[in-house]
Structure formats: structure tokens, C-alpha cells
Symmetry: C3
């Protein structure tokens, strides 16, 4: 139905904007903690915001990229980064690891949902679609860390992160096979992914370390 | 002839499976040595196993990727990684540099052969095909090291590695121009690449260092 | 007019060759300072020389890559790298940071101009074209640093570098909208980018640090 299509279209658009903003801020904060210069802050913010979706689109061979079709995303991330830098400078604001947790968890859930959705549109098999959802959600943060010469925290901090996206991706896949409105799958994936991430942080749940002793 | 085509088809498929398994194990071992968490082990295993072939396919604009056309590769690498982690955990098994040498050398030779073969199918010039063979063989290991924030051992350990793949790639190119069955070129490339690598390790042959003193 | 087209065609070709040589040398010097082995020197030289243009072409979905259409680029970079290594070895030549500044500044300006030009040919919006120009100019150096496990100097040395390319890119965009010969935009972009970079180094101009204290 047209109504549902419009609903889904808008929901996905709003999710994409919100997730892009969340990851931009996580990039700015990470760059500041690495004592990069202003150019480095912009670069890391762009990588964090667009890295996951761009790799997904490259792998799907999907053109134009969303930031070419919607140049306003690029302008928006530049403006947000500038605003965040000015604000941080004026307030002598030190971004802590804690301050990054909420935007990060939301961005993860939002990007994963959009990533699985787009991949299924491209007729990918279930496992590929879910993994591309994880890539969409996680790869921006991975690039953000690699470019600062750190081991990606997604792979080394012993907290479930990509794992939440992986499970949330399967939730999306399961819900969209059922006869229910499309936006429910989006919402379900976001709630499961972000909720599980925040719950894991709160409960201090740790992934097993692989000791080699 | 049909017979030869079938032969070559199967040989290439078996080589791809074997090489993917070898690089998966090298990724698991490297991740364990870097003390990553379980998610990191899966990620590094996937990068090591699929990184080279995926970059080759991206550069050739070859779709679908082999892990989309054959999702069983993804399931297989996940299963193998899980099995390796459980095994390492139970036996308190410490993967040493030595334990990685044989699977690594075989994987290098196998991936290089497949990479040159595919690139020639895409009408690449000889040098490009050989370099894409090297990329197929080496880039998985390079990603495996970059993501763990280490200088890729392929570029810094002063042992011939990419060099073996480069020479093996030219062997493949030379053999396939001759009037002989196609599988001979595959076998020749694997034997030269892996053999040279193992011989170099055994003979302790070292690449010159570029001193800057 | 044919005359102008030929002019522009040749100018762009000469610029591309010169920029590729400049970045190759910067890669060789960086690899030598990181004490990589001979294979690593070739790899870093290739990444520095072809990384920016290849990422631009990947993002634009532009095939064949320039180093596939013109394999002589690959042979040239291999030959130049070999010559540079032999020369450095014989003369006990220690490449200093200073020695890298001039080729780097020229390469930056040249690659940015070519990058914006190609992107506009592909009907990219202005901001995307300018950013792809920056990517063309900067990403080779970023890869050169990431692969040596260093934070890219473009993001952390507090000297304007990507910023020069960004402004030079807008100069190109502005000039090519005006009714003047096409080669003027190329020359203008190179002069502004490289000139600003060298001036900034000479005047010791520093980008603000983002302190987090």
C-alpha cells in the first residue's frame, strides 16, 4: 500500500540521518582523544559517518552512493563536525568513553537495520545480507580506529558490539519474512541491537578472551 | 575438450576451498596472538580468508563475489573458526609462528594461481594479471595485520613472500601461453610459489633491508 | 576546439605522469624510513602512487583503471622504485622529511586537479567532485602511512595539507565554470594547492590542535 511504502521510506530516511549524526559525533570524539588536528577531525568524522554505508554500497555495486545522491549529507556532516569542534573548544569539554556509548549504540542499530534492508533489496542471500548489515553498522567505527592506528575497539574491547548487530540483523531478516508492515522489522532490529548493546554495557557482560599462554 | 574443462573447473574449486581454509586458520592464529576477543577472531579470520579475493573482484568489477555466489564459503569459514577456537581453548594450544608457515605457504600459492587465472579471464594485460594474483594471495594477510595495528609481515619480515607469489604468477602466465592442459599452469604456479616460500624459510634467505643511517 | 582539447589532453597526461613519479618517490622514502624490506618498499611505492587515483576510480565506478589502460605506469613505477633503491643504497642517502616536501606538494596539487577534473566529467556535484579531488591527492599518502602502522601525517601533523587540496579543488571548480581555456583551471589548481602548501611549510603555519584536557 502506498501509505505503508511512504511510512517505510520516511522511517528509513530519518534513521539514516540520525545514525549518520551519531557516528559523526563518535568520530569527532575519537579524533579529539587521539589529539588529531582539525583536518584529521573532519577526516575521521567522515570515515565514521560514511565508511560503513560506502563499503556496503561498493560491495553491492550500488550507485550512486547515498552521499552523491544526497549531497546534503556531506554538508550536514561538515556542519555538525564544525559545530562540535567549536562547542568542545569553548566548553573545554572532554569527551569521555561514557559519552560515546549512547550515540554509538543507536547508530549501530540504525545502520544495521538499513544495511540488511538494502542488501535484501539487492537479492542477497540471508547470511550475506546480515553480514552486510553488520558491515554497515561496524565498519565506520573500524575505519575510525584503523586510521588512528589503534586496534578497532569492536574487535578487542571484549564487549559485545558487532555481535549485537549480527543478532539484530537476523531479527530484521526474520521479521521481514513475516506478513507484517515493513517498518516493524526496522524498529525491531534497532530495538534489539541497541537495547542489547546498552544492556551488555550496563551488565558488564564480557566476551571471552582468547588467551595464548 | 570437456574433460579438461571439467578437470580445471574442479581443480580450481578444490584449490579455492583449500586456500580459504589455510588463510582462515592463519587469521585465527594471528588474532589469538593479538589477544582479540571472539568477535575479533571471526573478523580477522574473515578478512584473512576473503580479503584478497574480494579486493581482486572489486578491482576487476567481477560480481557476484565468490562468497555471494557460494554462501557455503561464509558458513564454512564461520564453522572452521568456531572449531579452531574451541580446539585451541581445550588444548591450551599456543599457535606459534612456525605452525602458521605451512598453511600460509600453501594458501599463498593457491590464491595466486586462482587470482592470475581469473584476471586473465578478464583480459587483463600480463603484468596486471600477475599483480592481481599477488594481491589475491597477499592482501588477506595484509588486512589481517593492518586490522591488528601491525606493519604487514609481508612487507617487513625480510623473508620472500609476495616475491614468491610474483614469480609464481609469471610461471602461471608463461605456462598458460603454451599448448598444454590448463590444470598444468595451476599446479606449476602452486608448486613454484609454495615451494620457493618453504625453501626460503628453510634456507633462511633474507631480503635486503633498506637501511637509512 | 580541437587545439584546446589536445592541449588539455596532453597537459593532464603530463600532470598524471609527474604526480605519479612524485608520489612514488615519497613512498620509497617513507618505506625506507620505516626500515621495510625491498618488497615492502615496492608495495608502499605502489600504494602511494596509485592509491588515491584507484580509490577515486572505484568510487566513480570508472573502468578500466588508468593503470590497466596504461600498463606502462606500472612498469614505470617499478623501474623508478628500483632506481631509487639502488641510488639510495650506493650513496648511503638518508631521505629526510625535508627532501619529501617538494615532490609531495607538487604531487598533491597535480593529483587534486586531475581528480576534480575526472569527477566533474562523471557529473558529480561540486562538493563531491572537490572531495574526490582531495581523496585523489591525499589517499595515496594516507595508505602509505596506514600500511606502515602510523597515524596518517595528513591528519595529525598540524600542517595544512588536505586543506590546501580542498581549497585548490574549489579553485579548479570555480575556474572551469568560467569561459576560459580548460588548461587554465588545471594550472590554477596546481599553483594554488602546491603554493599554499609550500608557503604554509615556510611560514610554519599550524592547524589548531584539538586538546582534550
Amino acid at each position: 500500500m502506498l501509505e505503508i511504502n511512504t511510512w517505510t521510506f520516511w522511517l528509513r530516511h530519518v534513521l539514516e540521518v540520525a545514525a549518520t549524526m551519531a557516528f559523526t559525533l563518535s568520530g569527532v570524539m575519537a579524533a579529539a582523544r587521539s589529539r588529531l588536528d582539525a583536518v584529521g577531525v573532519y577526516a575521521v568524522a567522515f570515515l565514521a559517518a560514511f565508511g560503513g554505508g560506502t563499503l556496503r554500497d561498493l560491495l553491492l555495486d550500488r550507485r550512486p552512493f547515498f552521499w552523491v545522491a544526497h549531497v546534503e549529507y556531506l554538508w550536514g556532516v561538515m556542519a555538525l563536525t564544525t559545530a562540535a569542534m567549536l562547542f568542545m573548544r569553548q566548553r573545554h569539554f572532554a569527551p569521555t568513553e561514557k559519552a560515546m556509548q549512547l550515540p554509538d549504540a543507536l547508530g549501530l542499530g540504525l545502520f544495521t537495520a538499513v544495511g540488511v534492508d538494502v542488501s535484501l533489496d539487492y537479492q542477497m542471500p540471508a547470511l550475506v545480507a546480515v553480514l552486510l548489515g553488520v558491515v554497515t553498522g561496524v565498519f565506520g567505527g573500524v575505519l575510525r580506529d584503523i586510521v588512528r592506528s589503534e586496534i578497532p575497539s569492536a574487535f578487542s574491547d571484549h564487549r559485545p558490539y558487532a555481535l549485537c548487530a549480527f543478532l539484530g540483523g537476523w531479527v530484521f531478516w526474520g521479521l521481514q519474512t513475516m506478513p507484517m508492515p515493513a517498518w516493524l522489522a526496522l524498529v525491531g532490529c534497532v530495538l534489539v541491537t541497541a537495547g542489547m548493546r546498552l544492556w551488555a554495557l550496563w551488565a558488564n557482560w564480557r566476551l571471552p578472551l582468547w588467551r595464548v599462554d
